[in-house]
């Protein structure tokens, strides 16, 4: 995974609340077997008119937001389906940072697995960032994960909270399976005192001798 330390980029606004993952990547694009190439499909139904012509009404299609890498949006971003195709699409489109008053749980977790930094800020600060984004064409932010700060070029500096473990993984681009397997001894010890019945057809028959009596 690509590490995330510090990022400066153009901000694009998506002024909608409760944006769901069906909207990010509609189901017809969830049938692929790969993790790559979903950027083209991001926000498909909003972004394109029939025939895949860009919809000029859609915020992200405006020329001033081309090349944006920071998405500014509203509460409960990423609600609905657990599909990781959504953050794959967001990252492949070119976003590295998402800023919103809140994120849905599963989507939030999925972001960290894909080098995306979702930042939660209070409503008033998000409102202020929306105002500045609309007011200044080419509005850019610098996000420093190490310092946990967001700064613009006019002197605004905001701080944000992030779980230290997630921060550590993102800063170092760590694959957490490798990290988990460092706890192999603990997992094994747990398994020894925590038996679970197998869910396999032949096993279930072997495992329950009384079954014939039922």
């Amino acid at each position: 995974m690509q590490p995330f330390r510090r990022h400066t980029g153009l901000v694009a606004p998506l002024d909608r609340v409760n944006v769901d993952t069906d909207q990010m990547i509609p189901k017809q694009f969830c049938k692929l077997l790969t993790r790559e190439g979903y950027g083209r499909f991001l926000f498909y139904d909003w972004r394109y008119l029939p025939g895949e012509k860009p919809n000029p009404e859609f915020e992200l299609n405006q020329p001033r937001y081309q090349g944006a890498s920071i998405l500014l949006t509203r509460a409960n971003f990423g609600c609905g389906s657990s599909r990781e195709h959504a953050p794959w699409g967001v990252a492949d489109y070119g976003f590295r940072v998402l800023i919103a008053p809140s994120f849905a749980d599963i989507f939030y977790n999925n972001c960290f697995k894909n080098g995306l930094l979702p930042i939660t800020l209070p409503d008033e600060q998000v409102d202020e960032l929306f105002r500045r984004t609309y007011a200044h064409e080419g509005y850019r932010l610098t996000v420093d994960l190490e310092q946990q700060t967001i700064a613009d070029e006019q002197g605004l500096v905001l701080t944000f909270e992030i779980d230290p473990f997630r921060k550590y993984c993102l800063l170092n681009g760590l694959d957490d399976i490798g990290l988990t397997l460092q706890h192999e001894d603990k997992i094994r010890a747990f398994e020894e005192k925590h038996p679970v019945t197998p869910v396999q057809y032949d096993e279930v028959d072997m495992w329950s001798p009384e079954r014939a009596a039922d």
């Binding site: 077997l33 509460a75 019945t197």
Partner: protein, 485 residues
């Protein structure tokens, strides 16, 4: 001593599965990993690339549901869908995972077959690459949806890193009126508190209304916990739970079962356990619900009207309501019962269990689907389908003009050939009315199975209680109220 502090059911299950705990993160052990074709291929592929194996294939169970055509499951005409289904079969063979494939009598929607086969048991931790995994919480299992990277993580380690969620007790009180189902209760709850009110929480449903619910109803309730943003929903296991599980294929048998029942009784929340948040929801005045917008919180009583966006104080919510009405093609003030439907879908992991089909069939019996309405019944699993056929429900639906389909996710998410065309309306027993969910431009109204059946008959939304009253007048007290016992 901390051991004597009263704990919630969530805390007990969580603590029982802790492998490692750091300041903010917990490594949780996973007892059951359910897998389907859509969110797993990239996980298996990465395992292969990194030379890893599945740590506990015997705690992993797979089926095919999302992509499966429900007219003929063996005729998958979409080549990409066919590849995805075949890939799951190949992966299960390679990694030694049990698979209920299209030929299996156990195949069906993953959240329907888990409970039906007794894979789902109280006190287990259960994950699946699907947000509606919250369904299994109806049994007192801690069950939640995960992304594909986490699917890979669980395959490789049988564990998952999680931040400890907060606890939210939802006490459901009052008396449900006839015709008010678990679906109406959960839609009403989300309408009251909003689609984000559960974010960061595990919700435990309690109160006399929940205690009186069947397992099917509890599953409907827990299924839509995710629509309130909650990581999981929980219902304390009780006699209803144990009766449901007794004799199920993978449930313990004989003396083992009785021993487990004793353990399961001990996982319920202690008297005096403290929750981070509590709400009380009285359902006495609740009517059957119909959604009017593009998220599950946008619902009203069937006797109500489409709200005016101007009535929302918050500008962000107001704009969301305006966008929703524009998408749905609805005017403020329109009576819900004046909204026509062209499609009716009875199915999905929310409402495709035997009891859902019985309730819908009760409304449909002796009636006809209105002209111009296309109505589908898609049983949730092969077993539900067979049982419904044995009970004569199929004949009731078919005689009324419904299509009777093979099990699968079908029109809930339209990843398969079942979808709603642009601009047309569907009364749907599924869980999401998002833009485009049932097809690009499709307009979804979420309702209970009885309300969907009633809409199919009338050709527009109608208070199902009117039909039930007519039945009661005609048939006397033979069928009692709309609740099943």
């Amino acid at each position: 001593m901390s051991g004597h502090r009263p704990r919630t059911m969530f805390e007990k299950i969580w603590d029982q599965h802790l492998v490692v705990e750091t300041d903010t993160q917990c490594l949780l052990y996973i007892d059951l990993h359910l897998v389907h074709e859509v969110t797993s291929p990239q996980a298996f592929e990465n395992l292969r690339l990194s030379g890893r194996r599945v740590r506990r294939p015997e705690l992993t169970f797979a089926t095919m549901d999302h992509n499966v055509p429900t007219d003929n499951p063996f005729d998958v005409r979409d080549p990409i869908a066919r590849t995805q289904i075949q890939t799951l079969a190949d992966n299960c063979r390679t990694f030694g995972i049990e698979l209920a494939d299209l030929e299996s009598p156990d195949q069906g929607i993953v959240h329907i077959i888990g409970p039906e086969l007794g894979l789902t048991l109280p006190g287990k931790t259960i994950v699946c690459g699907d947000s509606h995994t919250s369904t299994h919480g109806a049994f007192g299992a801690l069950a939640f949806g995960i992304g594909t990277s986490e699917v890979e993580h669980v395959l490789a380690t049988q564990c998952l890193w999680q931040t400890r969620p907060k606890t939210l007790k939802v006490e459901i009180t009052g008396t449900r009126r006839p015709g008010v189902t678990a679906k109406d209760v959960i839609l009403g709850l989300i309408a009251r508190y909003g689609v984000g009110f559960g974010t960061g929480y595990v919700m435990e449903y309690a109160g006399e209304v929940v205690r009186g619910m069947t397992m099917e109803e509890r599953m409907t309730l827990c299924n839509m916990s995710i629509e309130a943003g909650a990581r999981a929903g929980l219902v304390a296991p009780d006699e209803t739970t144990f009766e449901y599980l007794r004799g199920r294929r993978f449930a313990p048998k004989g003396a083992d079962f009785e021993r487990c029942v004793a353990e399961w009784r001990a996982i319920v929340s202690d008297e005096g356990a403290v929750y981070d948040k509590m709400v009380v929801f009285d359902v006495t005045d609740l009517e059957p619900q119909v959604t009017w917008g593009t998220n599950p919180g946008m619902s009203v009583n069937v006797s109500g009207t489409v709200p005016d966006p101007a009535s929302f104080d918050n500008p962000v919510q107001r704009r969301a309501a305006e966008q929703a009405l524009a998408y749905m093609g609805l005017e403020p003030g329109t009576k819900i019962t004046e909204i026509p439907v062209q499609h009716v879908f009875i199915g999905s992991c929310t409402n495709a269990r035997i009891e859902d089909l019985r309730q819908a069939a009760r409304v449909v019996r002796g009636r006809r689907v209105a002209p111009g309405v296309r109505a589908l019944v898609v049983p949730g699993s092969k077993r539900v389908k067979e049982q419904a056929e044995r009970e004569g429900l199929r004949d009731i639906f078919v005689a009324a003009g419904f299509e009777w389909r093979e099990p699968g996710c079908s029109m809930c998410l339209a990843m398969n050939p079942d979808f709603v065309p642009p601009g047309e309306r569907c009364a749907s027993t599924s869980n999401r009315n998002f833009e485009g969910r049932q097809g690009r431009g499709a307009r979804t109204h979420l309702v209970s199975p009885m309300m969907a059946a009633a809409a199919a008959i009338a050709g527009h939304f109608i208070d199902v209680r009117e039909l039930l009253r007519d039945d009661d007048t005609e048939r006397g007290a033979e069928h009692g109220t709309a609740h099943s016992a």
